[in-house]
Amino acid sequence: MTTLLSHARHRVRTAQLGLAGPAAALVLVWLVFQSLNPAFLSADNLVNLTQQSAVLGVLALGVVIVLHVGQLDLSVGALSGLAAAVTAVASVQWGWSQWIAVLAAIAVGVVAGLVYGLIHARLGVPAFVFTLAGLLLLMGLQLRVLGPTGSVNVPFETWLVDLSQRAFLAPAVSWAIVAVVVAAFAGTRWYDRARRVRLDLPVEPLGLLLGRVVLLAGILAGVVAYLGTNRGVGVPFAALVGLVALTDVALRRTRWGRAIRAVGGDADAARKAGVPVRRVLVSAFVLSSTMAALGGVLATGRLAAANQGTGDVDLTLTAIAAAVIGGTSLFGGRGSAWSALLGVLIVQSIATGVLLVGGDFSVRLIVTGLVFAGAIGLDALARRARSG
């Protein structure tokens, strides 16, 4: 127990916090805004918060993946804007079925990711350089697709708008998902532990395992119950959480995820160990760009429109800020899919909180910038502690 404590203290001192850091930051942000305005933690406001987090969250998740290989994609916002334009224009003006329009928009993301990935893997140019070129190109394409009016409205009675704005999980469905997730988590943990016991490997204390299960069950049940007093869990937010969970499993428990982290840690070492580095890099960019396009599709539904302002530069910056604030390192190889969710919740909490206490956009930008700077500082400190 004392070793556990001293271990924890060492991690805090050297800023190697994992997800505990951003989780604590989220709680802190909530407490601050709640003390300034008691409406902040109301179920109504939290439902709005989750609804507003879906688009940015999907973008941030893509950023997290690219950050894992030590790169930065500065065009995720612009790509989401182009995807939004394609979705709206193809389904409204070109008369395509909305499904096809959405698939086309996502295909745009796949292609952009392939191009980025190949450029990076073949030429070795840092991504933040050529994605800057991509940013201009994509913005131009977005304006071209939108045409002279610069804005296209999507009818409210289409499934995409309905899904993005009005679809909530039925309480029974929410609870069923909670039950399945908790059971699956407990089951795999228990099974792994039993195998470790059989093979005489060190195991975590049973109490700790139980604690983790109870914590997970508590968080999920709390969220579902509290949001359930209002409109419940929105489908886009549930989809975001599901996507984050899937990405987390892929990053931690598959060979692909291991390769991603190895390439981010030391690409040359990974190559010498037999990791197909180029393919891994391309896959990271394709996934990230696909998620950016998916974010654009969701944004179209949420606004019931696509215009020139969809996917502005500040969306890119906020998505990157969210990923880093959530605890994914700018230096590659370290982080978690969950940092996308935590980071977006922090950034969106600041956004709605500032509004609630009467601040304007300038205040929001300043506060977010300060928090981002703090996260970068902690990231750099943790890195120094590891190498020193």
Binding site: D192, R195, R196, L199, L201, V249, R253, T254, R255, R258, A259, R261, A262, G264, G265, D266, D268, A269, A270, R271, K272, A273, G274, V275, P276, G332, G333, R334, R386, S387
Partner: protein, 255 residues
């Protein structure tokens, strides 16, 4: 004598105008530690690069177990049973010991990683090599230089390779750690691997190797039986001063 497990014929490798390797022949048997020594720039690293699949030779033939192979990448070399421990160790600092050991060759159950089996094998392997690490779940970046090297060597052993290549393994080690490492080398020989090890330390290699090949300016400048060669002979071959090339003695001595 048994057939060579690895043989190189006429290997040439140039960087621009500079010839790093200029027609190198080499043979390695199992249960043998072959030391490649030479001055800086003699071509040791390039030779290791060629054998490990990290660099493609411009000319020459490589055979593993008598079969001609093309070592297009470290991964391909591994498939042919040649595992390498690079001078920079090629470990990802952010991954833990188990993750590094199995990097690129992970064990899976279905589509998921089998962490439990990998961890079990990791402990066994490190135990066999008498390597001590605080935990197999600490990031490799947090280990000492000697521990990191032991991890790299353990990783090379994972696929039970026929040939293990070690590039300048003692350069980052202190005296005591070097002694430990030399014991480790003997353990590798007992396990039946053919070991190629490069070094600029004549003393270390003299102590542990069965055979010593001296490289000078990209050519083999002498091949010695470690038990018979004197320090003076080796030094002369390394520096190119004096002593004749073995095997050319009958032909009339020094070049």
């Amino acid at each position: 004598m048994s057939a060579p497990v690895l043989s190189l014929r006429g290997i040439v490798k140039s960087y621009g105008a500079a010839r790093a390797l200029d027609g190198v022949d080499l043979e390695l048997r199992s249960h043998e530690v072959l030391a490649v020594i030479g001055d800086s720039g003699a071509g040791k690293s390039t030779l290791v690069g060629v054998i490990s699949g990290n660099q493609r030779p411009d000319a020459g033939e490589i055979a593993v177990g008598g079969r001609a192979v093309t070592l297009a990448s470290p991964a391909v070399a591994r498939q042919h049973g040649i595992a390498s421990v690079f001078q920079d160790l090629a470990l990802a600092p952010n991954l833990d010991v188990v993750e590094n050991l199995f990097l690129g060759a992970e064990l899976t159950r279905g589509s998921f990683l089998d962490e439990v089996s990998m961890e079990k094998q990791a402990w066994e392997l490190l135990g066999q090599l008498s390597v001590r690490v605080p935990s197999v779940r600490v990031p490799v970046g947090a280990l000492s230089a000697a521990q990191r090297q032991a991890v790299a060597i353990a990783r090379a052993l994972l696929g039970e390779p026929r040939v293990i290549v070690l590039d300048e393994p003692t350069s980052a080690l202190g005296t005591r750690q070097t002694a430990q490492f030399l014991t480790l080398l003997e353990r590798l020989r007992e396990r039946g691997h053919g070991v190629v090890v490069t070094s600029h330390s004549l003393v270390d290699m003299h102590a542990v190797a069965d055979r010593i090949v001296v490289l000078r300016l990209g050519r083999v400048n002498g091949e010695f039986d470690a038990a018979l060669a004197t320090q003076e002979e080796l030094l002369a071959a390394v520096t190119g001063v004096g002593a004749p090339r073995r095997g050319e003695e009958r032909g009339g001595g020094a070049r």
